[in-house]
């Protein structure tokens, strides 16, 4: 049963989430965020502001960092979505996840999924991103706990190949 009532009007959406193909009938005004959190229980993607300002809802859509709170579900139709749940594989944590653990880049953890996915997208696009470019790329993701210092540190460590060189370039792109 859909948790978001649709007054009977639904649209059919087909998309791939973390490598799994899905088809669902949902309200046309549903956001990608609500779909992920409420329809398919991927609650690692967080909800913070509804207007693209905080970044805790960031997911990868065809490899690009997108704020899912302002993407309507049909805009994701036919796309490949990666959420934080999709990063860890049989070999363990993704290098970016490992780096966030090792560098104390996590405090309350609410921004963390969005930060990690955006950071991944930055290095996927630009494996040699400078500190300025990392900061520029992440300035739509707020963190209230860390002061950003240790987040930048972790991303630079991944960039510099400290975590399984080659892994920083994603499988997705």
């Amino acid at each position: 049963m859909s948790l978001v009532y649709s007054n009977g009007k639904t649209v059919r959406v087909s998309l791939e989430v973390n490598g799994k193909k899905l088809t669902a009938d949902v309200a046309p005004y549903m956001t990608l965020l609500d779909f992920l959190r409420k329809e398919i229980n991927l609650t690692g993607t967080k909800h913070g502001c509804d207007d693209s300002n905080c970044g805790v809802c960031t997911v990868l859509v065809n490899g690009l960092a997108i704020k899912s709170c302002t993407m309507l579900i049909m805009q994701a139709n036919g796309k490949k979505i990666t959420t934080i749940e999709g990063l860890e594989d049989e070999n363990g944590l993704h290098p970016m996840q490992k780096a966030f653990v090792d560098h104390f880049s996590v405090q309350c953890g609410f921004c963390t999924p969005g930060m990690i996915l955006t950071a991944k997208a930055i290095l996927d696009e630009n494996p040699h991103a400078t500190e300025e470019e990392i900061r520029e790329g992440l300035h739509g993701n707020l963190c209230r706990c860390t002061g950003y210092v240790k987040i930048v540190e972790a991303i630079e460590a991944v960039r510099d190949g400290e975590y399984n060189p080659g892994c920083a370039c994603s499988k997705e792109v």
Binding site: K46, D50, N53, E88, Q107
Partner: protein, 787 residues
């Protein structure tokens, strides 16, 4: 030997958080398919009479289950937390609740809000200290304040104001140490200034959120991101709804930040209200807008600072006035100015100190705790004046502070003994890191001008509450630590596990922390006033010691020696004077079998449990002059030095180089301390430079979203190489392993250091914050016009 104190142990919650597997309050809704959703209709006016409130159309909407309004007589609104009190006949701030809807879906609940008909008659409002504190204010927030019976000291440590010019002044405190008037006469220089501060919201990234399950016995099980499962939330639910203690279970999952702002239960109380009314499981998540308009903000302070000094920089007297602007906090039993003004007595040894403080109500969102408890607001003006004093007397700003600073063994103006102060090292380290004595190199072209500044700060720890802990040593040699302090994100669960590891000489991965469930974990009040490392830490150390004592007894009995002959090291017991030198502790736990069972001794599956309870000594009531040898508990300190640049054409401030140092006592985990320093500095840059509530003509916050309420981003911070986070501890004698708290003092000196850097850069002195571009530009223009 496993000494984990002072080690950068990895966070025990990091895996849960980097994988998204750790659940936050809002993640629980999927577990309840028949959930009701709550939404609130809120007043758009800061002050208005409600002429008509008609919910009948909304009630008829299919899927609406219950609507509650402030007029409902069977709700004990008077006893609700301030920001959760719904309007009865009159709304006293924009954002106050009017009606609360529970419906089968969020969409239906939102649609129902549109169907509620309200007619308001606008009334005049007062939005700040200046409008509220005049003799005949346009609006009186709590007309019954004067006639209401004053609560006892425990409820309201303070007085009713003596000279109450405005009916909005609702609480007072004064201190009169030494002889300020006589000392002031002997001063060579006196600087006197008035300072203001903006009203801000902590803006934790997770909005307030609660899911309350209506249990089969009529009780409540609630998951929420509020602080203090026992001491705050459960206590409030039992008190307000007159519920039995055994029918209220509060569980705190991971919390998406608090910074003090979640120490007040509001969403929790409203959620329980609707669960009890509907006998259903309900969920309520505040919108981001509500987090600004309807959840507690900080309290801004107005301060008047008058400091007299000798030519050599010795401060001889301090005459200080402070007013806390507390918003629409009716039935005030909390605010008197005493909390914030403690900031004036932390750092400097000024025996002639006079303080006159009060609280002022306004038609704005009710205020509550926010990182620093008013001390950033209280100390801003003092630090600015001391910087000005140094400039006027041509004394180095580090020197003037060292000259006047409290030293260990001194008594502060209250009369309290200072047992730990590492501030001089903090100050020097920050000055060195930004090369304070070397002038800034100015950019050759363009509008940017650079300057440097430094400041210090202290923050009291309130001796409040009781922490309990339990350490369970399982029969396989693993350990569970049970605690109920809050893990707002600071990493306390990791630090406490480090303490247990150290006591039991055990690797961290054998320790599991179980936290924040009133049915399971022992009492704690909350994580407030930077107390958790100290308060809960002491309880955890006691619990570990108790567990070790019991283990020793068991082993000693088994081998016929005195317990003092036994040492516990992880899963081994080391014995002296026995025929056995070392024994594997798990092997001593007997399996349950008809041939070995007994009702004494160690048994498989049954842990050895150690308990610890810690409670700091209470406050000693102050005398008629406001003095006492124990008003607070201990003090945390920090210093900050900044190099900033100011755009002379736009007024914009950029921080290009910053050093912050904390006196943490002995840090349990220096990496976690660094995280607190870095986060504190960032938060402070936000509220000193940008953040404030702005209002439209209805008195409603006009920037109640994360786009217009400008929080610091990655781009507002200096680069990592220009950000020094430094630890200069002075061990606290009564802290566990010499540790004390530190998260609050960090923010305080950042603002006055920036203000001085601005002065050095462009020659203007700010008298308040946030130091927004508009204000700085205005001051630059005023300065140019005066030339």
């Amino acid at each position: 030997m496993t000494n984990m104190i002072g080690k950068g142990a990895k966070r025990i919650d990091a895996y849960d958080k980097v994988t998204g597997k750790g659940l936050f309050a809002g993640d629980y809704i999927n577990q309840f398919p028949n959930l009701l959703y709550v939404k609130a209709l809120r007043s758009p006016y800061a002050h208005a009479r409600i002429l008509k409130l008609d919910v009948s159309k909304a009630e008829k909407l299919e899927g609406v289950v219950k609507i509650v309004t402030g007029a409902d007589a069977d709700v004990d609104w008077e006893n609700f937390p301030k920001s959760a009190i719904f309007a009865k006949n009159e709304t006293i701030w924009a954002g106050q609740g009017i009606a609360l809807v529970a419906a089968e879906s969020l969409d239906i609940a939102e649609e129902a809000l549109d169907l509620i008909e309200v007619e308001y008659e606008r009334l005049p409002h007062v939005l700040d200290y200046y409008a509220a504190s005049v003799a005949n204010p346009a609006s009186i927030i709590d007309p019954e304040f004067e006639t209401r019976e004053a609560p006892s000291f425990q409820e309201r440590p303070g007085e009713k104001p003596k000279q109450r010019k405005s009916p909005n002044i609702v609480g007072a405190y004064s201190l009169d140490a030494g002889d300020v008037d006589r000392a002031m006469e002997k001063a060579d220089i006196i600087i006197e200034k008035e300072f203001w501060t903006g009203k801000k919201t902590a803006s934790a990234l997770e909005c307030a959120n609660a899911v309350a399950r209506y249990d089969s016995d009529g009780g409540i099980t609630m998951w929420s991101n509020g602080a203090g499962v026992h001491g705050v939330i459960k206590a409030a639910v039992c008190r307000i709804f007159k519920m039995q203690e055994n029918k209220v279970r509060i569980i705190q999952p991971y919390m998406g930040g608090s910074f003090g702002s979640r120490l007040n239960p509001y969403v929790e109380i409203l959620t329980v209200l609707m669960a009890l009314k509907t006998k259903r499981t309900v969920s309520f998540e505040y919108t981001r807008k509500e987090m600004y308009t309807s959840a507690p903000s900080n309290w801004p302070c107005i301060t008047k600072v008058k400091i007299g000094a000798k030519r050599d920089g010795t401060i001889v007297a301090h005459d200080y006035y402070l007013a806390e602007e507390i918003g629409a906090a009716v039935n005030n039993t909390f605010f008197t100015g005493r909390l914030s003004s403690s900031g004036a007595c932390c750092v400097y040894n000024i025996p002639n100190t006079r303080m006159d403080t009060c609280a002022v109500a306004t038609n704005t969102v009710p205020a509550a705790e926010y990182r620093g408890l008013g001390c950033p607001e209280a100390e801003f003006g003092i630090e600015c004046v001391i910087n000005e004093l140094a400039d006027e007397l041509k004394i180095n700003p580090v020197e003037i502070r060292l000259k006047n600073m409290l030293k260990k063994g001194d008594r502060n103006p209250y009369g309290e003994l200072i047992t730990s102060i590492g501030l001089s090292k903090c100050l020097q380290a920050c000055a060195d890191a930004v090369k304070l004595n070397e002038p800034s190199v100015q950019p050759e072209n363009g509008p940017w001008r650079r300057g440097k500044g430094i400041a210090t700060a202290g923050k009291q720890n309130t001796p409040l509450g009781r922490s309990e802990a339990e350490v369970r040593y399982n029969s396989d040699g693993t350990v569970e630590l049970l605690i109920s302090c809050d893990e707002n994100g600071m990493g306390i669960t990791t630090s406490l596990a480090q303490m247990v590891a150290t006591e039991l000489k055990m690797p961290m991965d054998k320790i599991k922390v179980i936290k924040g469930d009133t049915l399971v974990t022992p009492y704690d009040n909350y994580s407030a006033s930077s107390r958790t490392t100290y308060n809960t830490g002491n309880a955890v150390k006691l619990a570990a010691e108790d567990c070790i004592r019991k283990l020793k007894e068991e082993v000693a009995r088994e081998f016929g020696v005195h317990p003092s002959k036994v040492e516990i090291q992880n899963d081994k017991a080391i014995l002296v004077g026995s025929h056995v030198q070392e024994v594997d502790i798990p092997s001593l736990f007997r399996p349950t079998s008809p041939f070995s069972q007994g009702n004494w001794g160690l048994q498989k599956g049954s842990p050895v449990v150690g308990k610890g309870i810690f409670c700091p000594a209470p406050i000693h009531m102050w005398d008629a002059k406001g003095k006492s040898d124990r008003v607070w508990n201990w003090f945390q300190y920090s210093a900050c030095a900044v190099e900033a640049e100011v755009n002379e054409e736009t007024g914009q401030i950029r921080i290009i180089n910053i050093a912050s140092s904390a006196d943490t006592g002995n840090p349990i985990n220096p990496k976690l301390v660094e995280g607190q320093i870095e986060g504190g500095v960032m938060m402070a840059i936000g509220f000193f430079v940008n953040e404030e509530h702005l209002y439209n003509d209805r008195g409603e916050i006009s920037n109640s979203n994360m786009g217009d309420y400008r929080l610091p981003t990655f781009l507002d911070m200096p680069k990592n190489k220009n950000f020094a986070s430094l630890i200069n501890p002075d061990p606290l004698p009564d802290g566990p392993y010499g540790a004390k708290g530190m998260a609050e003092s960090i923010t305080i000196p950042v603002g006055p250091a920036i203000a001085e850097a601005v002065y050095q850069a462009v020659g203007i002195r700010v008298t308040g914050y946030p130091m927004t571009a508009e204000r700085i530009l205005q001051l630059i223009k005023e300065k140019e016009a005066a030339l």
